[in-house]
């Protein structure tokens, strides 16, 4: 398909601007202006509409396809939350309104949203307080590690290391490194959880934090979790909970109750705000009592008279990690989702997510290698190692699924499983959809033995066949201009 730039015809226009109702002014001195006009496309509004509508049809999405992308929680995104985020009473609100005299009264509805979403998320996770500022999961991680660093600085602790298991998301070690820490990696034991002997050996006085995902990226709940936390706390190392997999735990276990000091959430996963093709998300962070003083400013507070205000009175705060109060429209959608589901609805979400995952696992484990034979939580990891004997890799199975209109699972992650396929069906899928997925996965396994070429040549039904990624990196072309 042509680029919008390739459809450009000199002189074509696509929008009516507000009419100029003031006199034209002398243009700015030439030394401050650009030499040539910005070479944006010259197209009509219909050109733009047709172009982007057709582009949209070249995407798999939750609304068009089953999307069991592991660790990403691609559940159905209810439409009423979009309607709410689009209310002009929210969209037209300037974030600096509250900086004007008495203007907090102009934003009471918005502050109430922030206040209650914090309360709800704190109760869901069992944490003492939350901040809604972080703009994505990885941003929440960075905020969390900065809070931990502030705690240790304040106490005069000399800390250099952060412990992460080798099954962790890549963001964990990347975040800790960016915040100024060195990484200690702990291998996975035979039960699919962090190896306790190795963990104990690596723990020490200089460890600032232990970062865990629970259930972990293999979809396994770490039954040693309390002991892990108690051992860490002996050295005043704080426990970090990566909330990517919270969709397995709602009402079943709260990170705050089992010893975690910091939690980040991915609202676009567990609380069903759309993934947007890769953002915007939201990554609120919750903390235990130890870290409350260091939370970012401003903080929404409720006055005695029931009104809300923004407070910057936090002398030990790490400061500002976002310009305002987080991705407000995303927070709104998550709040509306939680309000609609309520207590029972949230618990049901986790229960059905775990049911769907175990069902798929039960129907696939005879044809695919299962690295750890255990009950899974909301997702599971299988390996294409048996298929590899016929020259078929995880990526080939992924591409075959595309030809069958199913978005592939996450592949080659976690790194510790060879030829990994990480499947997260989510709770919003029907048994019929899961049965079809299982059928296609079994068909792929059979084709690996009988006719591997079909898998290797897939996909054939898409606008493009397999793309040369090495060429893209070697001959970098990332702009038409």
């Amino acid at each position: 398909m042509k680029l919008i730039f390739e459809k450009s015809v000199a002189g074509r226009r696509g929008v009516t601007l507000p009419r100029p109702d003031v006199p034209k002014r002398a243009i700015i001195d030439g030394k401050y202006t650009r030499k040539d006009a910005a070479p944006l496309p010259e197209v009509s509004e219909l050109d733009v509409v047709r172009h982007f509508t057709n582009l949209s049809r070249r995407n798999f999405s939750v609304d068009t396809n089953f999307y069991p992308l592991g660790s990403c929680t691609m559940k159905y995104n209810p439409k009423f939350t979009e309607a709410i985020a689009g209310f002009p009473g929210f969209t037209e609100l300037h974030p600096l309104t509250s900086h004007l005299g008495q203007a907090a009264m102009l934003v009471q509805g918005a502050l109430e949203v922030l206040y209650y979403i914090e309360q709800l998320l704190a109760e869901i996770t069992g944490m003492k307080e939350m901040t809604t500022e972080p703009l994505a999961g990885a941003h929440g991680e960075l905020t969390g590690i900065m809070l931990i660093a502030a705690y240790h600085r304040d106490k005069g602790n000399k800390k250099r290391f952060v412990i992460v298991p080798d099954s962790s998301h890549g963001t964990n070690p990347a975040t800790a490194a960016i915040a100024g820490y060195e990484i200690i990696s702990v291998p996975t034991g035979k039960n699919g959880c962090m190896d306790m002997e190795s963990y104990k050996a690596k723990l020490g006085k200089e460890v600032a934090a232990v970062m865990l995902t629970c259930p972990n990226t293999l979809g396994i709940f770490n039954t040693d979790i309390k002991e892990v936390a108690e051992l860490a706390h002996r050295y005043d190392a704080l426990m970090y909970y990566d909330g990517a997999n919270l969709n397995a735990m709602l009402g079943k276990c709260r990170p705050g109750d089992v010893g975690f000091d910091v939690v980040h959430l991915n609202l676009h996963k567990t609380f069903s705000t759309p993934h947007g093709g890769g953002g915007p998300g939201a990554g609120p962070v919750g903390v235990s009592g130890k870290l409350v003083d260091y939370l970012p400013v401003p903080k929404v507070v409720r006055n005695d008279n029931g009104t809300y205000a923004l407070s910057e009175k936090k002398p030990k705060s790490i400061g500002r990690i976002a310009p305002f109060y987080g991705n407000f429209a995303v927070l709104l959608k998550a709040y509306a989702y939680i309000m609609l589901l309520g207590r029972e609805g949230l618990i049901t979400a986790s229960e059905r997510a775990v049911l769907n995952a175990n069902y798929c696992l039960a129907k696939l484990k005879d044809v695919y290698e299962l690295p750890f034979e255990r009950t899974c939580m909301h997702e599971f990891v299988i390996s294409a190692s048996r298929q590899l004997k016929h020259g078929i890799r995880a990526i080939d199975i992924a591409k075959f699924l595309i030809d069958r209109d199913i978005h592939p699972p996450t592949v080659y992650f976690p790194l510790i499983v060879k030829e990994a396929l990480m499947v997260e069906p989510t709770e919003t899928e029907t048994k019929e959809t899961l049965d079809r997925f299982v059928e296609v996965m079994r068909e792929a396994a059979k084709l690996a033995e009988d006719d591997p070429e079909i898998l290797k040549n897939a996909p054939t039904n898409m606008p493009v066949s397999r793309l040369d990624e090495a060429r893209a990196a070697r001959e970098l072309n990332c702009s038409h201009i």
Partner: protein, 445 residues
Amino acid sequence: MSNYYTPHTEDDIKSMLDTIGVGSIEELFKDIKGELRPKSFNIPEGKSELEVLTHFNRLAFNNCAGIVKFLGAGFYDHYIPSVVDMLSGRSEFYTAYTPYQPECSQGTLQAIYEYQSAICALTGMEVANASLYEGGTALYEAAMLSSRLKNRNKIVVDSGVNPIYRQMLHTYTQNLSMDFVEISVSHGRSTRSDMLKYIDDKTACVILQNPNFFGAIDDHSDIIDKAHSHGALAVESVYPISLGLLKTPAEMGADIVTGEGQSMGMPLSFGGPYLGFMAVKKELARKIPGRIAGATLDTKGKRGFVLTLQTREQHIRREKATSNICSNEALCALRAVIYLSVLGKEGIRELARLNHDKAEYAKEKIAKIKGVEVKRSSPTFNEFTVLLPKNAFNVTEGLIKNNFLAGLPLGRYYKGMDNYLLVAVTEKRTKQEIDGFAEALGKAL
């Protein structure tokens, strides 16, 4: 109320449990022992969709969002053509995720490639990434990129850079040994002599903003040349709509360009989601943070798009990654490229011109008010500084009653500037609103 987004019937559940070989769903949670179960889970009971909509309608009504805005300070009340909402609202875009599987994500990938191209067109730079969270974190990433690349830790920052972003820079670097030198502004412009004096061989980069926080337009070529002569990089934070008219950061020689893209089709929405953009010279392409879409060929020689240079990223490099950034703000980038496409080459120039002309008109009207001084030491784009005879914060309070958000009182961020007000005028402000505002301001003093 139950969860109707889960479609399981009683029969489904029974047959699925049979397949798994357990007697109940609860058995699947057996690894979570009693001592690990929640101490409480006090979430209110569920509500119907209508009840929730009614609740949020009330909350939205409790905001005075429709007030006439002369408030900007980096975040602007621009008109968003309807086509932006309609097209970005296609759920094939917004319910997809990061395009890890390119063959079934060509829509998102091509849109990102086009967005990157549009950012290059606006800024004059050669390479743009797929977007970052927002303007402040983009600036922080630029500072870190410079420091990493130059292996230096001194960063010279102009105080004309948005003070909120400067606060963020400090927050992010508390645990790192960064040396920030902030150069104060004089008469609303960069203090040239100090800027030039403090840039030295230890400097990783100099951080500038155009137009600066006070709205002043500048040509930073001399400062950028000075930075280059010491082997330092120049980072320029820009306001994309102004680039319809203004000299591009590329023309000034900047190495890294960042900015807040909210003005390109994002509603104000009380602070987000917004759009951080970053564009660089070609030689820095392999060092920048965030996702990048690149063009390539498929097995049959047909053009297609992929996420490229992924070996910089956290999911492969882990602790050695160039940033911990995982997602981008893809949907916001999509909105921006739709917005820029309907505006086009002529439209962006006309829009910039309209903003400038309306702001100049507002300046003239306000300058006529007795006791008020409009600062004119530099040309401005669509925002300017006004010195009032009274405390600006108190004046804004009075004007709310006239349905105006009068601007940002500067005292909160700049010492000794309690009587200064920062006023923004976008294309949405009509002559009638500007006249009414000037009149109300006159009466409020």
